[in-house]
């Protein structure tokens, strides 16, 4: 037994170590995902019998103008959200100093992430509210009238993304704070001797050491952008007239409000396919970076 264990340890141990995570994850998450795909092939209101419609939901989705609006908005989210990692890094760099009181300030910087998203959404609604909103007040101070961004089909998504960036940036900040603690002093020293400073130091010496963190930050940012839901729901309910909807919200709306789980699941599946493209790209990047020894 003992020898068997020792002999087989090299593969048994990793298997045993990873087993709980895989088991739980497959049973709860993957199985659910698979079931979602199954549901997407049906017409279903969430409790009654499921009616097989094959690819019907997808066909409908294909000609649903709202779907394209949501898709476009998701792209806007994706692009704008990419600001979160750099800003998060900037804040992390700002507060990564050992000065009395800094720990406390750091904790305060962290607050946006812990606020309930409902509250964040509401507060930013207040920012944008015509007439009383902060934006309006600021514009008024300059004698101008602020646009009612949340009422404007063209601005509304941008306005929501800005609100959503607030916690997202914080998220990235925490990631980078952890990453900044894993930097190699020696490499930084070598960089200093080589005359790298400021931007060069950041770009050539520090960031390469933060690639792993950046990978995580990009992943969570993409996830955040593609899964974006709360802010849309709180700030506009997808409005005005669906122009700020995103796929996740549309999916929710269809499933919960319209009782169309099949259709919702179809949206989710499409969303997931989009993500899969990203995941493949993403993993190949990770592998490549690691092979370089980065």
């Amino acid at each position: 037994m003992q020898t068997l264990w020792r002999r087989q340890r090299w593969w048994l141990t990793p298997t045993l170590l990873i087993a709980p995570a895989i088991l739980l994850f497959s049973v709860v998450i993957l199985l659910s995902a698979v079931r979602s795909v199954w549901i997407s092939l049906h017409e279903w209101d969430g409790f009654g019998p499921m009616v097989w419609v094959g690819l019907g939901n997808y066909v409908e989705l294909y000609s649903d103008p709202q779907f394209y609006v949501s898709l476009k908005n998701n792209l806007i989210w994706l692009v704008m959200f990419m600001a979160a990692p750099p800003i998060g890094l900037a804040i992390a760099l700002l507060v990564n100093q050992k000065i009395a009181g800094m720990r406390f300030l750091k904790s305060l910087f962290f607050i946006p992430l812990v606020l309930a998203s409902v509250t964040v959404g509401v507060v930013f609604t207040w920012v944008y509210t015509p007439e009383f909103g902060l934006l309006a007040l600021i514009f008024r101070a300059f004698g101008a009238t602020a646009p009612a961004v949340l009422s404007d089909e063209h601005f509304v998504t941008f306005a929501i993304v800005i609100a959503a960036l607030w916690p997202q940036v914080t998220f990235c900040m925490v990631l980078y704070l952890a990453g900044l603690n894993n930097l190699s002093e020696e490499l930084i020293g070598a960089g200093r001797v080589d005359g790298a400073r400021g931007w060069n130091m950041l770009w050539h010496i520090v960031l390469p050491q933060l690639t792993q963190v950046t990978f995580i930050a990009i992943a969570v940012t993409v996830v955040g952008a593609l899964r974006s839901f709360d802010m849309v729901s709180v700030m506009t309910s997808g409005g005005p007239f669906g122009s700020s909807s995103v796929l996740a919200y549309q999916m929710f709306e269809q499933s919960i409000f319209s009782y169309r789980f099949g259709y919702g699941a179809a949206i989710a599946s499409v969303l997931f396919v989009i993500m899969a493209v990203f995941i493949v790209w993403y993993l190949s990047r990770i592998i490549r970076t690691e092979e370089r020894g980065g």
Binding site: I18, Q97, F132, A178, E185, A268
Partner: protein
């Protein structure tokens, strides 16, 4: 450390820097002040559309006491702790184990498993509502904290594994070789070599996971109905009405609910230690 520490001796520089940070912080937290001010306001003030001005009447005490009296907030707090703490521990344990295996062992399917973890992370979770509910019904766990714990552990493990895998992968290979050569079992290597070196990452992960689970409301709604198991976010939501939302109460509630994660962050910073891997290898 990067950026370069301001030397202890440059007292003035340190003070000015701190001041600059405070200024940035104030700008950064601008929206928060609206929340805080609102949590001080009276209902009339809120309804009057006074969102950014100074409160006309002070309703602090009322607001904050109402948060606890209008909903079983204390109970919810307790529930939240009962849900969050085991979940965070569960997530940390599982993801560290999985991340360690995925980063340190090359085997076929490694990347596939990793991809699944990453991919699961990307699922819009609303879509899993029905399947997860059905699963919990089958397990006879519906309306228990266990259901929430199991779900959160499973769901967060995706992200957490990505996180831990990448951090452990960044550690120098030679350290693991040394441990292997010294006869440490893979598990011992994990406990004695990998984990101490990813302490900042674990702390950050703990903070994030704690925050996510603490702030979850959707799954609390899906998987629980009883007040005796609902988390604190339910209390917060309870302050929202069918038609009327008392923003002053909600703001107060938000702040109350936000306190534990912030405290957690403050405490966990202890583990943010720079230069942990210094002096390990030549290279």
């Amino acid at each position: 450390m990067y950026p370069r520490p301001i030397p202890e001796t440059a007292v003035w520089q340190r003070r000015i820097y701190l001041l600059a940070v405070v200024v940035v912080l104030i700008l950064w937290l601008c929206p928060l002040f609206a929340i805080i001010l609102t949590s001080f306001r009276t209902t009339e003030d809120v309804m009057g559309g006074n969102l950014w001005g100074w409160p006309t009447g002070i309703g602090v005490i009322d607001n904050y006491t109402d948060v606890f009296t209008q909903t079983p907030m204390a109970r919810y707090f307790l529930n939240s702790l009962i849900i969050t703490i085991p979940s965070v521990i569960g997530v940390l344990v599982m993801s560290t184990l999985a991340g360690y295996v995925l980063s340190r062992y090359r085997f076929r399917g490694n990347m596939l498993i990793f991809a699944l973890f990453v991919g699961g992370n990307f699922l819009p979770h609303q879509i899993m509502m029905i399947p997860v509910r059905d699963l919990m019904v089958q397990l006879d766990l519906i309306d228990t904290t266990a259901a929430l714990i199991i779900f959160h552990v499973a769901f967060q493990t995706g992200f957490a594994t990505l996180f831990m895998r990448n951090f452990i992968a960044a550690l120098p290979d030679e350290l693991f070789q040394a441990a292997r050569a010294e006869g440490a079992s893979p598990f011992q290597t994990l406990v004695h070599v990998a984990i101490p070196l990813v302490r900042p990452a674990l702390a950050a992960l703990a903070i994030l996971i704690f925050t996510f689970i603490w702030n979850d409301y959707f799954w609390a709604v899906v998987l629980t109905v009883s007040d005796s198991v609902k988390p604190v976010t339910a209390g917060l939501a309870n302050l929202r009405g069918e038609w009327v939302s008392a923003w002053n109460l909600i703001s107060a509630g938000t702040i109350v609910v936000a306190v534990p994660p912030v405290v957690m962050f403050f405490l966990m910073q202890r583990h943010f230690i720079a230069g942990l891997t210094m002096g390990a290898v030549k290279g």
